[in-house]
């Protein structure tokens, strides 16, 4: 199933990826090919099959929710691109596309 340019723009927007015009065209073509290959799965009748929801062999188990030491704030802030008042600083939330 070939994707349209609008499809690619929609997906990129959902994924928060800015693409150049070149990239949009290239991904339109490549993603169409890949989706084409993937659609092979539709030929299987899975109406009686349960989806695999967990890879672990045994049942998932619960644990006590006990508070423990957290990573030091200054260590975590050290890796941030911009910091203010011991917090991550970001540009204004309002404005910009879309």
């Amino acid at each position: 199933m070939p994707l349209s340019r609008e499809d690619v723009e929609h997906i990129a927007n959902l994924a928060r990826l800015h693409l150049t015009e070149d990239e949009k065209e290239r991904y339109r073509e490549q993603l169409s090919n890949i989706l084409d290959h993937i659609s092979k799965l539709q030929e299987l009748d899975t109406s009686k099959v349960q989806p695999m929801s967990s890879v672990v062999v045994e049942q998932s188990r619960l644990r006590e929710d006990e508070p423990g030491p957290a990573m030091p704030r200054e260590d975590l802030l050290r890796d941030a691109p911009e910091v203010a008042a011991e917090q991550f600083r970001v540009p204004p939330v309002l404005g910009g596309a879309p």
Binding site: A15, N33, P81
Partner: protein
Amino acid sequence: MSDLHRLTVTQALKGLRGGDFSSRELTAAYLKRIEQHNPRLNAYRHVAAEPALKAAVKADKQLAKGRKTKSKLPPLLGLPIAVKDVLTVAGMPATAGSRILEGFVPTYNATAVQRLLDAGVVILGKTNTDEFAMGSSTENSAYGVVRNPWDEERVPGGSSGGSAAAVAAGLAPVALGTDTGGSVRQPAALCGLTGLKTTYGRVSRYGLIAFGSSLDTVGVLAHSAQDAAAILGVMAGFDRRDATTLEDAAPKIKLNGKFELKGLKIGVPKEYFVEGLQPEVGQAVRAAIAQLETMGAQASEISLPHTEYALPVYYIIAPAEASANLARFDGVRYGLRVPEEALFDMFTHTRGQGFGPEVKRRIMIGTYALSAGYYEAYYGQAQKVRTLIRRDFEQAFEQVDLIAAPATPNSAFRIGAHSGAPLEMYLEDVFTLPANLAGVPGLALPAGFDSQGLPLSLQVIGPHFSEERLLQVGHAYQQTTDWHTITPMATLDAQP
């Protein structure tokens, strides 16, 4: 000793214990080789020369004290090791092969790394990888292509290509890798190494930069099954920071003494010997199976009927999980930020410039497969077919103990051979993906060479938590063959 880099892990540990050489000497020998060969091979992303030598000196003091007092020492004390750059090592840059993590220096160790450090290892550095472990050639690293030490015009496989090239070239005795769709076994196969993909839940994923959370496993690239076993025994087991690890997941692997292959039932899946398989790969695998038969194993043909659906299932599930996991890279907390006036634009430009082409491609596939209107048709259907693939393995393991098959469709391919053709590249993993979907362990074993002198490989796959048996079979095979002892080191060293 000038050949310290040729020692196996077992030999190196024995030499260290006995005082034949120091950890400092051993570490320095590897650092020297890294200096010599890494500029061409690009196997390491980050070399931690100073910290490694410091750790080695510390290990030597402990070793000397241990010899004097006859006290019990950590099992891997003084052993150098390389770590794939998708696992965190406190104080060392972690890039996952991506620009988007440039400058990120984690403050904590991955659990696998922590356990190895507790066991006394010396970390030489971080090895190059396809960006976020997405690739089968290590051409997708933002930090340059890794070259295969057997033929530098060829890829080492991927995504643990840096770890594979490092071990094959003697730039580390052993290395950690990760395997989400074949990323340990495929590069091991292409570089002539033993590569262990562990059972999902065997080794903690804490500190592993997540790609596909239901598929990701931590594994080992080594020169032998015995070397791989030494590392696995230390890093496996329950970790409260990863709820998918099992309580009793720490294996006690015994490879000493004779392991009896008599009565071992090996299944050979007919779906793995198909058109497109390089004839020499098929021949090498058949010869390896024949060898196991002479040792007492019984081989028979089996069927894994849904094998052909593994690739499409994988390329829905892995990208879907990746698109969610990689949402965290947004320019806020770590790594790259492209400055923009508004938050939304900062997100999209940071991600647009920070991620490479393959990562963006997979994020887009995953986002599409999870998006409204397509979820059931793609992701829902893939999860159902995944059940069928796992059932294939469960049914096979009711008849046989192990499965023997090719690890890869061909030997190492040329750099650039699949550029611009993502589907062609995906097909390189067609024999390794099914084990990840089922969550079972697999082991790639050197099994010969093709007419161009490139390594060929046998893959053995076992039921969940059968690593001990896989490694025993691998060890038995390596007791009677010498493919695993042949390395490209001499040719490499003869170069001007």
